[in-house]
Symmetry: C2
Subunit: 348 residues, 2 copies
């Protein structure tokens, strides 16, 4: 199995650039080459997860934290407040855990109108109510005007791990199927267009939502046949699947035709020279399930409101090792790499 | 008992200013008038704590989060990395909990030299090792150059609450004593001087450290006679004690002579027109203990390395209700208010 320690080189970049925060290759190098060796030496040699699991009193609890720095603060379909709640709920969900409680820490730019802050506080409250999670505490700091973009939010969530969920990259086997819960790329392209830097209009909305109902439906429907889950945010589906391929040591082969992509997203990506597989999602889940359970898994996801467009998009193959391939309708096959650089900064 | 709901007015300030992040009166208005009513409606009517307590499997767990935006990043005696670990460990400690695990989220400014980031990562690792807590996960975001001051860090900690600690403002009674673990104001004045904005030199170091050993010593020594604890950071000892006075409904009377203040801090405060009681600390604990147990409590704190300057600095009196008073050596008595405004921005 691929590990942090076995492949991480010491981080030698002289300074931090936007790409280090984009969730792709540069982020991976920073985390594996600098942060993990210093802060979490025990994690060297382990696949990196979005959640840490702690055992207490016979239960297993998952803990996860994320900062949100999306720009602009509001965009069609959502806002930083929604993202901050859903993003953390989703990290727990793909760790097999239902969120029990969140804490949130706000860094507010001096001069921010109270109505803007109130709007995001209300968005967090509404998001938490929709996701069925309580916000139990927080902190507020203020920095000088110009030293933040209105508001940065960090949320941390704790959840109880479903004992039936036996999620591990070690469980992934050739013959397993790849399921995605819906259209990809909506969030990243929506935020990009909301900035107004690009002369392009499209009727798109962020997909920000809790993916817990999908995770729960999968565990209910197929239990131990559910092997691995992620919510493909920064770096998109391609980055999540490359991490999987690297960590499990097998190939992930995608049927490009089967990946749900809206025409608006595909069109914007073509114009901008982007790959929808690299675009961030904030309300999709990608799951690896056993081949035998794949149809049941798909039915279960499609039965969840909002899961109607779910699709089986690929499978795990023995080779080529640690590689993601996509096969197009016309039969050509390409290697799908992790995100490189930062074509879409600050999308979450 | 004073409560959020009974005294919080709706927040009507039109924009967020530095004072709202200073930990004093304006912060309190923002939190109680805007944030708590929207995010934590269940907490209306409850005294605000630095930790949220969750029950699971017969144990009680404390959860707390804090963002750190101190400027400059490094100062005599510490740095943002130390603060980020100790601050969260300390919030758990004064909640009667030993930190089990931390997660950390970094917001890094593009252009930050890698050596600066590495220095703070190493400071976090060293702080965690000293405090005996594991860092189990994290997140990294990058914002454009100019959009942060190098680095903001948010840490969230989870700890197990010591079953012997029966901390509650409801346990505070007239006749209780106020104990502080050492010299106050070192941190705030050190950071202020480190900015170089003021033409003043003093041989001072931040007191940043874990206060858990003091909290543990108190629980060990006096158990249920320990009634309440805080680590007086932003807003200083005066703000923590005003919150106590407000929440318990009694008076806190301080013997000003007994409060440990270094000459350098007192001198800087006199020059700057500040009150040492309003200056932030990052390694002190203030405890309310029963009168009968006060001497044992003091002995226990003084026996902890670094606790030699601990002192009994005051007592709880029945009246004047919700007020902090300080009596000087010459006999005059003054009302000590919460911090107002933000004379010392960004000290944690």
């Amino acid at each position: 199995m691929a590990t942090v320690g076995s492949r991480a080189a010491r981080f030698t970049d002289q300074q931090i650039d936007m790409a280090h925060g984009a969730g792709g290759k540069a982020s991976r190098r920073l985390v594996e080459g600098l942060i993990v060796p210093a802060l979490m030496p025990d994690a060297i040699g382990e696949p990196l997860n979005d959640v840490a699991v702690l055992s207490a009193g016979g239960d297993r609890f998952a803990l996860t934290t994320d900062s949100f720095v999306v720009r602009p603060l509001r965009f069609p379909g959502g806002s930083i407040g929604d993202l901050a709640v859903n993003g953390t709920v989703n990290d727990l969900a793909v760790g097999g855990a239902r969120a029990l409680a969140l804490v949130c820490s706000l860094i507010v730019e001096a001069g921010t109108p109270t109505d803007v802050l109130r709007g995001e506080i209300d968005a967090m409250a509404a998001g938490a109510a929709r996701a069925g999670v309580r916000i139990v505490g927080g902190d507020t700091k203020v920095v000088e005007h110009g030293k933040a973009d209105g508001l940065y939010i960090t949320t941390t969530g704790i959840g109880r791990v479903d004992a039936r969920a036996a999620l591990s990259v070690a469980a992934v086997r050739p013959g397993d199927r790849v399921i995605v819960t819906g259209y990809i790329g909506d969030h990243g392209i929506t935020v990009l267009l909301a900035r107004g830097d690009i002369d392009l209009a499209a009727d798109l909305r962020s997909d920000t939502r809790s993916v817990y109902p999908f995770a729960a439906a999968l565990v209910d429907a197929i239990g131990g046949d559910l092997h691995w889950m992620r919510d493909p945010t920064r770096g998109g589906l391609a980055t999540s699947l490359n991490e999987l391929a690297r960590d499990c040591g097998f190939a992930v082969t995608l049927d490009e035709e089967a990946v749900p992509v809206r025409d608006e997203v595909r069109g914007a990506c073509e114009l901008l020279g982007l790959d929808p597989l690299h675009i961030a999602n904030e309300g999709q889940l990608v799951a690896i399930v056993s081949g035998e359970a794949a149809d049941r898994a798909l039915d279960a996801v499609r039965a969840v409101p909002g899961g109607e467009a779910a699709s089986i998009i690929g499978r795990i193959e023995p080779a080529p090792a640690r590689t993601v391939l996509a096969t197009a309708a016309y039969g050509g096959t390409r290697v799908v790499d992790m995100l490189v650089g930062d074509p879409l900064p600050r999308i979450c």
